[in-house]
Point group: C2
Chain length 404, copies 2
């Protein structure tokens, strides 16, 4: 049977015609994830797999402790069925996010329940890539040892990076970290002395989109775009239920789309980029160092709440320009929902409605093509959470932990 070609990095590249049993195991696992509790008969009826095959697949998943049986249900015609749910108590997925001013780490179980969430300050803007790798390895080792104490096997670790990540997990360019061509996946694996689980690296916006898809309040949505609002502006693109990476892994790079040829100079050397006109830099005084960003922003918010007309004018312009960028996304990708993340969450009371209005005005499809512009409920944690979700996704798509 067909599995779609995926461009998942760092992992096996499933071909169109891949191993049937592994794919069927993943089908059953995903079915139980989405329909738990359910019986073997439910699985057979909904997937078209025959009952003997389902029984064999379920036995395998129980052996791997990915599923477990949970009593009987009487609530049906005929013989009561044994119900199945996700197990996963012996597993953990780890997500790490590196950014200009912090490192975060989260761990979740197979169901996506949070096991831990740590944040420490980090001078990402001035540290070298080697220092960053050492810092990430240190925090990762502490998470792994905590998981070991809980008798959990780590399924994998993903790092979220604000920059261009190619399909091999190399960071081609991360301007705000000052990185260029860093083999982060290789370096981190080495620094962790070959940890025995897959290490993956991905763009923070891509992972934010995965986090929204799995943990956000967007039930049933298959077409979603997530906008980061950190020092940079980027986006992660979900279409037909999957992250779309494009030819080399660089989809969603909307931060330097020209919004106005007469606009201000951007850090990239171009003029009138979305990032320069709608990013956090458009709100603060020019040249604020990363460490000063939070207090400066607090001051802006204080003045906005006090009704300072100059600040309100600036925020209105940011909302307007953000709307222009959002409209480009809506017209090009026709998502069901565009999620504003990062600092846009903080600024939402002043910029959300203005941007939404602009999106509808500029959308060529009636009613914005059905697109809603919403504010993330995951906040700045989306990157690390999405990084952990990336590990769960790879399990769900057939990369199962080995039988022990």
């Amino acid at each position: 049977m067909i599995t779609p070609r995926t461009t998942s990095q760092n992992g096996p590249q499933p071909a169109d015609f891949t191993d049937v049993r592994a794919t069927n195991l993943a089908v059953v696992l995903r079915f139980v994830r989405e329909n738990s509790p359910c019986s073997r008969a439910d699985i057979a009826a909904s997937t078209g797999l025959n009952k003997a095959t389902v029984s064999s697949l379920v036995a395998d998943l129980i052996d791997r402790r990915l599923l477990r049986e949970t009593g009987l249900t009487e609530n049906r015609v005929g013989r009561p069925a044994t119900m199945l749910v996700l197990d996963g108590s012996p597993y953990a997925a780890i997500g790490i996010e590196v950014n200009v001013d912090y490192l975060t780490a989260v761990a979740v179980d197979l169901k996506g329940e949070e096991l831990l969430s740590w944040r420490r300050s980090f001078s990402g803007g001035t540290a070298s890539a080697a220092q960053a790798v050492a810092g990430m390895a240190a925090i990762a080792r502490r998470v792994v040892s905590r998981m070991a104490k809980e008798a959990r096997q780590v399924l994998g670790l993903t790092v979220a990076v604000p920059g261009l990540v190619d399909v091999n997990g190399s960071v081609r360019l991360a301007p705000n970290l000052g990185w260029r061509d860093v083999d982060l996946c290789g370096d981190l694996t080495k620094a962790m002395r070959d940890p025995g689980f897959p290490v993956m690296v991905d763009n923070d916006a891509n992972l934010g989109a995965l986090a929204e898809l799995r943990f956000g309040p967007h039930g049933g949505v298959n077409d979603l775009v997530y906008l980061t609002g950190e020092v940079g502006v980027g986006s992660g693109v979900i279409m037909d239920g999957r992250l779309r990476r494009g030819g080399q892994g660089y989809t969603g790079e909307i931060g330097h789309i020209e919004i106005d040829p007469g606009g201000p100079l951007c850090r990239c050397g171009r003029h009138g980029c979305l990032e320069a006109m709608a990013g956090i830099g458009a709100v603060l005084a020019p040249g604020v160092p990363p460490a000063e960003l939070e207090p400066e922003l607090d001051e802006v918010l204080r003045r906005a709440r006090a009704g300072d007309p100059e600040i309100l004018r600036i925020l209105d312009a940011v909302g307007h320009n953000l709307g222009k960028g959002v409209a480009i996304v809506a017209n090009t990708l026709n998502p069901e929902v565009i999620v504003l993340g990062g600092y846009f969450v903080t600024l939402a009371p002043w910029v959300h409605k203005r941007a939404e209005e602009e999106m509808f005005r500029r959308s060529i499809a009636p009613g914005g093509g059905g697109c809603r512009l919403v504010v993330s409920t995951l906040g700045h944690g989306a990157g690390a959470l999405g990084a952990a979700a990336r590990v769960l996704d790879s399990v769900d798509s057939g990369r199962l932990p080995a039988l022990t």
Copy 2:
């Protein structure tokens, strides 16, 4: 096993957990399409399906006359194998394109070989939707009767429309045809008195993209964007090997993205839209009626070839503005290739290099993220050809003709 959720309109909507045998039949059909000639053992080895299953599936496909056996090959170890190829001689797929000044029809066989290609002039800009439906039904009936004479069963018919087509095959808006909310799929099915095969309707840019994917010289490309250059400018988006439609079917609507807030008035009432700054309207004198379009364009080309500086300046600006639009596509979707279609093919000698240069300059990923900007080799025929390809795609994804 999982088939990806597709948003194919007018057809069955395969769920995540769909009928296994139908999907497996499609896997085998596609494998033979891509690897013909091949043996049953080749299919089993590459798909992971067991040999007995493959034999049963192949027998079914031979019964449906989708595959046929073709002699033996000795060129292998052991017993010579019977080789399989696509049959499809008893089938045809029909594509029709309606536009401002013409109607075209093509028919292809299961392999995609062209069986006929007709074009007739048509006043799409002034005809009512009902007149257009009557015209399309007339040409379609003639194609069907020609196919009947060749003893071919029609697998389906798709109509390419320059406008917003929703997931039910209704045309929500086709500004250049003057249509709004036309149930084209329903009306045409009725006008053809229930022809006994599926009738589908799709956006011309989407179908152009499908045509490029199946018939264009882009071997192995999975991420492709096709730009129409008719009176309007639109795009069709292929990511990970499939057409991506978005939430309501309106992806790729780039024609009214604002390229310059100070730009000229667009037909849509906005200012500085891509269509107004890089479309065919930016090249011709304002208000040229559709019937005058070709002669006017010929005059422009004559002057360009003669080195008329005013025309060369205009074409240079069109190339520059087209490049801005193309850069937005490249940054947002990171395709491997962007194909310029329609009138852009005619204008290519003057606008292609300029647009490409601009795309690279504005791309945030190094080297344009690997994206190439190329000129279509299918010309204005891409829409109808893609419409026929759409029918073949639906067969390839499991909607097989019934056993007769």
